[in-house]
Amino acid sequence: MKRYKVVIIGAGIVGISIARVLSMYENFDISIVEMEPDVGWGVSKANTSIIHPCHEEDPEKYPLRARLCREGNSIWMNWVKELDIPARWPGELMVFYSSEDEQEAKKYISFAIKNDVPGVRIIYRDELTSYEPNINPEAEGALYAPTAGTISPFEAVIAIAENAIENGVKIFVETRVINIRIRNHSVIGIDTNRGSIDANIVINAAGLYADYISHMAGVAHEFYIKPRRGEYIVFDEDVDVKPIKILHTTPTPITKGVYAITTVHGNLMIGPTAEDLSIDARESKATTEDGFSYLIREGGRLLKRIPPTLKIIRRFASLRPEPPYGNWLIDAYMEPWGFVNVAGIRSPGLTAAPAIAKYVLKLIAERYDINLVEKSSWIRYRKGIKSIRSIDIEKLDELIRRNSGYGKIVCYCKTVSEAEILEAIDRIIKIGAKPTVDGIKFRTTAGFGKCQGLFCRWRIALLLSKRLGIPLYSVTIKKSQYGLGDIKILLRNKMVSKT
């Protein structure tokens, strides 16, 4: 059996899912390169976090999207269990307010039938509040899709990454691809800012930058990604309007509408906006006042009441990679042999990711004539970090007696203990990512609460500094150092420059 060296570019939900699926087979040696310090920090980190039922995908216009989305929805139901990913499956209501809206909503029943999405039906006003007590009473009705779910998207990426590492995958962070090496019409590797990696197969899952990578390989010159910005607002856990179901307005040509959901972490989240940016604005993740007002307005249409804005604990924006005509570009090329595009994976990319991964496996096996051999010892399961947040106090007492770190609370808002923080640091190191305060936040929820890390950020930084044996100022928050240096650095520099 020939073993193929595979390099996946991008440790987002798509790249990491491909790694998990490929790691089931003896045929591949898999490495992932990621330009960010940690996995899942691009498009995957900030999105609506929904596993779509896929009755909104037009099976004629976008057959691949429709098919993989539908499959992905089913696969996720298993993956969240296998990988201990926080998830809920509350179902969703596409809310309508007029007969015009209703006609629009009804269109999706036919999609549901064609896409084999179960249980989709119209619910009228008389039943609406029974399904969702938090809905705006002005709603005429809603299209109900019971298979909709919500997961924690960044924890999903982390979970899959940890599992992939167990199955032999290697991850290289802060590694930016600068060239695809090609010889005799075949890819032979990549060059990065941190050196070269040999490869027989290079899979481009570079999210917002997938067009650049594709062009480096000399394919799909007409393919360009347009960044589309989506803003969100997040309310504190303690607000009294927290929808049970996933609520959203009817889709428009560019978005799936605005959603109001209770996230797996218990926060009310409203979003996204949809704003097409210029082609080079690939880091423009700024929030705007216009976006904010729009979300408050749309959220107000969905919900019986918008909680007071002083209950907002976070605003964020993300960019989604919009491909030409909304078409995903998934292809394995013969010229150059071994280059695979998984590019322009716009919504419903999160939902479809596991199905995309299986599709890519099949594609490369067929295209490159690979005889797949399953591993006998593939590890299917992964456990998350043990959280004390919702643990019974008697059980917690026993736990503390075994490890006193569980009795030392670092994040007060989310009740996260020192033991959890330390475990997160070890897990970051284990997957080869860079330990950062943000990385710990995404793994433990420390800093996700009401105070947004006011009380815990410096203490987490202290734990990092101790564990890594580095000065406190050189601890990385997200992408830069916590401090400039020791407190006297500027005074000393001034004295030096004077003499």
């Binding site: 020791d486 407190i487 006297k488 005074l491 000393r492 004295m495």
Partner: protein, 121 residues
């Protein structure tokens, strides 16, 4: 405004009078203070402004990496930079007690510790 006119805000009480001080040769004239305390404040500020200076200095082998310090009496404003440069050059060995003199007799004051720092165990 002439070069000899200086504007101050009085910090003696919450009213915060705007005080104008005119310097003519050796004489100073003070206007705008509502009370004699304000006049005195302005005179002091013009003739010899003084401040307590607070900072931190590095600690060797302490349970904290720095100890907070202050001048035990107000020092002339013009000496602030000198004191600050000094704080950047020194390092003290733990343990340190509150009130302990860190630097003796600098700009007419002692630099004293305002926090206890224990020896690192």
């Amino acid at each position: 405004m002439s070069n000899n006119e200086i504007e101050l805000i009085c910090i003696i009480c919450p009213i915060g009078c705007s005080i104008k001080v005119y310097k003519v040769l050796d004489n100073i004239k003070i206007e705008g203070a509502l009370c004699p305390r304000g006049v005195n404040y302005a005179r002091q500020e013009i003739l010899d402004p003084k401040r307590i200076v607070m900072s931190v200095v590095k600690v060797k082998n302490g349970d904290l990496p720095v100890v907070s310090v202050k001048t035990d009496v107000p020092i002339p404003k013009k000496c602030i930079n000198e004191i600050m440069r000094l704080t950047a050059l020194i390092e003290v060995e733990a343990p340190i007690k509150i009130g302990q003199v860190i630097v003796k007799d600098v700009c007419g004051a002692n630099l004293i510790a305002t926090r206890e720092v224990k020896k690192n165990s």
